[in-house]
């Protein structure tokens, strides 16, 4: 930390004394900063989690599709071969592989149990398609498949993937927007509190001005006080938020809310919140003070 900032934080205690202590508003500022930081922790966790989700879905699902072939038993083999031929000649398909009977049985086991004779059932044939980076033209592929293998249905996951990825990205945007709004609301609250404090101490300001105090000296006592309050309140709010996130019930590996929280290095965002709160308070109080002082000669 630069020496000037350290000196400013530890401060000239006597300079602070020129502003009378204010019990109640001080606690309100602490409280507001704490609550706002607490909320910010959740907004941040939401943004980070949805960001992760959008990225993972986008990555995983964009690369894989499935072709499902439902045909009478005697046509199954020929249609599968026809579909594979179509897929192999389609631009944008990296590989296409028909699943073996064992693989399909393994996929179905969770639903049917291991003992059901899946062989005896009219199970559709699945072909796993891996896309290359460019992806393929799904509509064109569907047309060609319907011509060559009428029982083949292309399931390219996009139908349900797109809105989910869009929703996840939108949630992340909303989370970030919330953080900005919370910051703005905190600036507004601290400005109000600072204005009230400045108005309540107009006699102090007048006396200081009369005995030759520069604006900087007068403002500093107020600015320092509000900045420290916001910092302290925010640290408490951050700690409470972090504890709440840590003790969120574990939802296992599935579910939309999975991973609402911080992973590894993401925890390092948290200590930045009180610093941001202090910066917001500093700016808000400085502006309020310079506005009030400018009206005085």
């Amino acid at each position: 930390m630069p020496a000037a900032l350290t000196a400013w934080l530890t401060g000239d205690a006597s300079a602070d004394r020129v502003v009378p202590p204010s019990g109640f508003t001080a606690q309100l500022t602490l409280f507001a900063a704490g609550v706002m930081t607490f909320l910010t922790v959740f907004a941040l966790a939401l943004s980070l989690a949805t960001g992760r989700l959008a990225e993972r879905w986008g990555d995983d699902l964009a690369r894989a599709s499935t072709v499902r072939i439902s045909a009478p038993a005697d046509q199954m083999r020929t249609q599968t071969a026809a579909a594979l031929r179509v897929l192999e000649t389609t631009e944008g398909v990296e590989s296409a592989q028909a699943l073996s009977a064992e693989d399909q049985q393994a996929l179905l086991a969770p639903w049917f149990g291991p003992d059901v004779p899946v062989d005896a059932l009219p199970v559709p044939q699945l072909i796993e398609v891996t896309e290359s980076d460019g992806g393929f033209d799904a509509a064109g592929l569907r047309l060609r498949l319907s011509a060559e293998a009428p029982g083949a249905v292309l399931d390219d996951h996009t139908r349900w993937r797109r809105p989910l990825v869009a929703a996840a990205s939108r949630l992340r945007t909303l989370g970030l927007l919330s953080i900005l709004l919370i910051g703005g609301a905190m600036a507004a609250m601290i400005t109000l509190a600072a204005n009230a404090a400045l108005a309540a101490n107009s006699q102090v300001i007048g006396v200081l001005r009369l005995v030759g105090a520069k604006d900087r000296y007068i403002a500093r006592a107020f600015v320092r006080r509000f900045t420290l309050r916001a910092l302290i309140g925010s640290v408490v709010g951050m700690i409470c938020g972090a504890i709440a996130i840590l003790f969120l019930p574990d939802q296992g590996e599935v579910g939309l809310l999975t991973g609402l929280g911080f992973r590894g290095i993401e925890w390092l965002w948290l200590p930045l919140l009180p610093l941001a709160a202090a910066a917001v308070a500093y700016g808000a109080t400085r502006r309020a003070a310079s506005r009030v002082l400018a009206a005085l000669r």
């Binding site: 006597s14 030759g212 000296y217």
Partner: protein
Amino acid sequence: MIELDNVAYSYGGAELLSDVSLKLAPGSFHFLTGPSGAGKTTFLKLCYGALVPTAGQARIFDQDVREMTRDDIAISRRRIGVVHQDCQFLDHVSMAENVAMPLKVAGRDVAAEQQNLDDLLSWCGLSSRANALPPQLSGGERQRAALARAVILSPDVILADEPTGNVDWEMSQRLIQLLVELNRMGKTVMIASHDLGLIRATKQHVQARVLRISNRRLQLAGADL
């Protein structure tokens, strides 16, 4: 030190002061008199830059008031001690700290000046009340504390607005005596007062010029005082 040149001032409507010209010479002693509401306080405020003239030019230590920044004005106040009629203090710190406040805001080391502060307080007869809070002081003590605060930085000019307004005759004599002694040390003093008896009494001790505000003008009062 302070020069007013054809200065006029109006609070929005009609002019309160017009065509006021004055040059405060170093070491001079002035009384400013006139009926209540004539503009004595406004005139003093023009002298220490709290008001900017609506016409004419005011110069404080050779700086045009209109061109002074807020910090320039703050620094000029360290060379002009002002005693208000209703002396205001920081009510939550002791009287001694209030008197030392100009040192503090000027960034001077208050501890190093402790001896000066003690001397000043005893000179003003306030030693025993050093630790009292301003609201616990009597009217006369407040006036003397305000005077002590005005002179702690050893200013070149002392402007006092009705410094004897709230105190009895004996106390007002003591306060004036303090100001006369400061003048003898070379300070420029200007006292606004409507108390002609006090002015007459003081003129026996010091070479004072009496200015009177009447009909919005500043006039040099004649020998009738």
